[in-house]
């Protein structure tokens, strides 16, 4: 198989949500001595971008996006360990979390997928994450982006706590803070001192590409 064929196989696997095809494609890419990063960026990530676009354009449903994400991760599991160490260190790191008190993580998972597709090495802290843990992870892992999500109104002010914690630790100036979730708004982001609020993952990654 030619290089292009392998890449097409990978992106097609992600678009259609075929996990086995993604795994096979990833192995073929490595067997063909393709660089792991190329296989990720021009194969898996390209597929995920297509899905992201379609979701944003209301052409596919959320479960399809989640299936595609699942597929991408299956491929990544094989390709990520093959990235040479020096290259891996060059990837920008980010951390994503649903703030303390909230367990709704679908939105967070989509953002994580799109950030990974956008070339970020994502540290997923999961849901109901204590504020102090988000703050300390950001600093310890030297992330460039902290992405926070919540679906509920009572947990929104936890986002302000994260920003406050970053100011106290001195890491605030080194990181972009993005927030999302239905009850949040750009005005809220400004009020709490976050950098950005977006209503879909695709646009947020596009914003980050310009801002970081």
């Amino acid at each position: 198989m030619s290089k292009d064929e392998i890449l097409n196989k990978l992106s097609d696997a992600v678009v259609t949500g075929k996990i086995e095809q993604a795994k096979a494609g990833a192995k073929e890419a490595l067997a063909a001595n393709m660089e792991a990063l190329t296989a990720i960026n021009e194969g898996l990530v390209k597929g995920m971008s297509i899905v992201g676009d379609r979701y944003a354009a209301h052409q596919v449903y959320l479960p399809q996006v989640l299936m595609s994400a699942h597929t991408m991760y299956a491929g990544l599991d094989i390709l990520l360990p093959a990235i040479p160490k020096a290259q891996a260190e060059n990837m920008s790191r980010c951390t994503v979390a649903v703030v303390e008190g909230d367990v709704h993580d679908i939105g967070k998972n989509i953002v994580k997928t799109m950030l990974t597709a956008g070339g970020y090495d994502c540290i997923d802290l999961g849901k109901d994450v204590p504020i102090e843990k988000i703050v300390s992870t950001a600093e310890k892992e030297k992330v460039k982006v902290v992405a926070l999500s919540t679906l509920m109104t009572p947990t929104m002010d936890g986002m302000k706590d994260v920003v406050d914690g970053l100011v106290e630790s001195g890491y605030r100036s080194k990181v972009k803070v993005c927030i999302g979730g239905p009850p949040t708004s750009p005005a809220f982001a400004k009020e709490i001192g976050a950098d950005h609020r977006d209503s879909n993952a695709q646009d947020c990654v596009a914003w980050l590409k310009k801002a970081v």
């Binding site: 303390e100 008190g101 504020i131 102090e132 109104t153 009572p154 947990t155 929104m156 002010d157 936890g158 302000k160 706590d161 406050d164 914690g165 100011v167 106290e168 630790s169 001195g170 979730g181 239905p182 009850p183 949040t184 708004s185 005005a187 809220f188 009020e191 709490i192």
Partner: protein, 682 residues
């Protein structure tokens, strides 16, 4: 008579005024050179030049200062210990003794980990006798000062040195900035003590023992007692005093204040009668601190800025040199040598591309002090010997010593403060013109004649040209500052630059010109203001006010400020309570962290307690009939579309006690934070 004595120790001059409080009239004013090694000498000289008969009636002394910041940044001076709790300090400024112990709090003010008092005690015993001051900084102490207070109590038992905690100096988040502020503060305590002692001694020698007030970075006053606890707040007080002085002398509440001194020009803005403050905290020695100070744009253009002609190029540089006119009053032989330089026919002199090392016939050097362990070349040693008692130009010295002038490493020695450069400055331009004459005018004329000749100009043309350069530079610095204020950036794009140039230089390009108008007057402070400011104001179509005592505006500001003490208390709803009306909440204040059933209860408590603490404090500092200013700021947010309601993010209660200093009143010994704790037992 009811008089006040105002003092300002600036980078170049120490100014003093005696003002009549009842009429607002300046009765006597004086200026002397600031003596950086020992400020008291300059202060003494300045006071001696005042009308001595008036000193008996002085009821209050107030001082502002631009203290040398190098010592605190470089870690010179006294020896400081630092205890950090719950987090490492980034060591961005040096400390002499350091320990990190466990402890610290969370964002909601709960104990993050228990305080290791044993480790604190061990450290305190080990540094006993080794340090002159102690700084204590705990992680999130602004949300709960408990750990800092406990370590402070321990330190007070073991050590006999000043102890300062982070939460006493700032209510803002930012552990590193707070720690830096705390260390600098500890380092400054002996310096401010010396300064206060020397002023009191100078006044005491004259039989006056009126109370001494110190100006803070925001232009308000504090008593000497509090200044010795929180000296960091006084460090940038000079520019703030200028702004207050400008307000008093003109009665204007909104204005742009330009203060041209010997070394720099400071531009500040008065809004509603108050100096506009640096919101994020002042930067001292390149480090962000939590010090509240007037935001001042400083540019390296002053009366002592160096003017050179390099080949056929004119340059106005930021380097500060001693003006020829002043040097020639000190060393009269310079006048004759300058005459010779001015009268001889222009002939090639060795020059250089690098403007600092360029040899100018009208630039002289005098040795200032001995080498302190600095290694220099044999030639430089000979040069220093040659210029020990009398200034010579590099060419003169080179000819006498048989060494080519380029061999000398003059810039290195200048930067180390071993030699002083003497040369043509804007002050000489004004002397040569005759518009401002205080020193040896003839020397200035010769110097300017020589430079003019090099450019093929008449002296009159050269003076006009040089003045225009100064005016354009002032205008451009002013515009930059105003642009920054409006846009938050210093980065003009190509079009912006073009518009700026047109607004400053005037005239049309191909098709258009540009005029920028200011909506408030410019107040000119500092000497000599009338030479440049009228043309700067004319460029921007605004009123120019040159108050009568413009040259001592800073000292006037020092004596006319009010005593102000403020407290910022944060009230935050408990998690999940934000959308409830009048929710359960936490209160975070310098006096501790508390919990309340409703925000309105918390606000009421905060207002009452802060008022009581602050009133007691300003009265102890000597304020007369102080008034309270209470401001409640509710920060609310709306939910995203479809949710409708809004919620409370947090409430700030800002309380200030403000009063004019009562004159000639003995000041009781009280300490804000120690008494605070006893009075309130929190």
């Amino acid at each position: 008579m009811n008089l006040g004595l105002g003092l300002d120790t600036g980078g170049t001059y120490t100014d003093s005024v005696i003002m009549d409080f009842s009429t607002g009239e300046v009765l006597s004013k004086a200026k002397s050179l600031t003596t950086r090694d020992d400020l008291s000498i300059g202060i003494k000289e300045s006071i001696e030049k005042l009308d001595q008969k008036l000193l008996d009636d002085v009821r209050m002394i107030s001082m502002s200062s631009t203290l040398a910041t190098n010592s605190i940044v470089e870690g010179k001076g006294c020896s400081v210990g630092l205890i950090v709790i719950g987090r490492d300090f980034d060591r961005s400024i040096p400390v002499d003794e350091y320990v990190r112990i466990s402890g610290g709090h969370t964002l909601s003010g709960k104990e993050g980990e228990p305080l290791d008092e044993k480790a604190a005690e061990e450290f305190l015993r080990s540094v006993n006798g080794k340090i002159d001051g102690l700084a204590i900084a705990s992680y999130l102490s602004v949300r709960n000062p408990d750990h800092e207070q406990r370590v402070k109590a321990l330190a007070k038992r073991i050590l006999d040195v000043p102890v300062v905690c982070g939460h006493e100096l700032s209510s803002n988040l930012g552990f590193n900035e707070r720690t830096v502020t705390c260390i600098m503060n500890a380092r400054l305590i002996p310096i401010i003590e010396d300064l206060i002692d020397s002023v009191k001694q100078v006044m005491g020698d004259r039989g006056t023992n009126a109370p001494l007030m110190i100006v803070k970075g925001d232009g308000s006053l504090m008593s000497e007692k509090i200044a010795m606890e929180r000296p960091i707040e006084t460090i940038l007080s000079g520019p703030a005093a200028s702004l207050i002085g400008a307000k008093i002398l003109t009665g204007k509440e909104d204005a742009i204040v330009m203060d041209m001194g010997g070394t720099t020009t400071d531009i500040g803005i008065l809004r509603k009668g108050n100096p506009r403050l640096e919101e994020k905290g002042a930067i001292i020695g390149g480090r962000r601190t939590h010090v509240l100070a007037a935001e001042i744009a400083t540019s390296g253009l002053g009366g002592d800025s160096r003017i050179i002609v390099n080949g056929d190029r004119f340059a106005l540089t930021a380097l500060r040199v001693m003006p020829l006119c002043i040097a020639a009053s000190k060393w009269p032989q310079l006048e004759e040598r300058l005459r010779e330089v001015a009268e001889r026919r222009s002939r090639p002199t060795p020059e250089s591309m690098d403007s600092k090392s360029i040899v100018q016939d009208v630039e002289f050097f005098i040795k200032l002090k001995d080498l302190r362990g600095m290694v220099i070349s044999e030639e430089d040693r000979k040069l220093l010997e040659h210029i020990r008692n009398e200034p010579f130009s590099l060419k003169e010295a080179g000819d006498a010593l048989g060494i080519h002038p380029f061999i000398f490493n003059i810039t290195k020695m200048e930067e180390a403060g071993i030699v002083q450069r003497i040369g043509v400055t804007p002050t000489d331009i004004l002397h040569a013109e005759g518009s401002y004459v205080e020193y040896n005018r003839t020397a200035s004329i010769y110097g300017v004649q020589h430079q003019a000749k090099k450019l093929g100009m008449s002296m009159e043309d050269f003076i006009a040209f040089a003045k225009q350069e100064v005016i354009d530079k002032l205008a451009s610095e002013l515009l930059k500052e105003l642009f920054f204020e409006e846009t938050g950036t210093f980065d003009p794009d190509t079009i912006g630059k073009d518009l700026m140039t047109k607004a400053i230089k005037g005239g049309f390009g191909l098709d258009y010109s540009c005029k920028i108008a200011l909506n408030k007057p410019i107040i000119g402070i500092g000497a000599p203001v009338s030479a440049y400011y009228p043309q700067v104001a004319a460029k921007f179509d605004c009123e120019l006010i040159l108050p009568k005592y413009a040259e001592v505006g800073n000292a006037v500001g020092a004596i006319t400020g009010s005593i102000v003490e403020s407290m910022d208390i944060l009230i935050r709803p408990k998690p999940g309570e934000n959308a409830v009306s009048d929710p359960k909440c936490f209160l975070f204040a310098p006096f501790g962290r508390m919990e309340f059933e409703t925000v309105s209860e918390a606000v009421k408590y905060a207002e009452g307690k802060a008022s009581e603490i602050l009133m007691e404090l300003v009265i102890s500092e000597g304020a007369e009939n102080p008034k309270l200013e209470i401001e409640r700021i509710d920060r609310k947010y709306e939910f995203g579309s479809g949710y409708g309601a809004d919620a409370l993010l947090e409430t700030h209660v800002k309380v200030s006690a403000v009063g004019k200093p009562k004159q000639f009143r003995s000041i009781e010994k009280t300490s804000y934070y120690s008494d605070l704790k006893q009075a309130w037992d929190v």
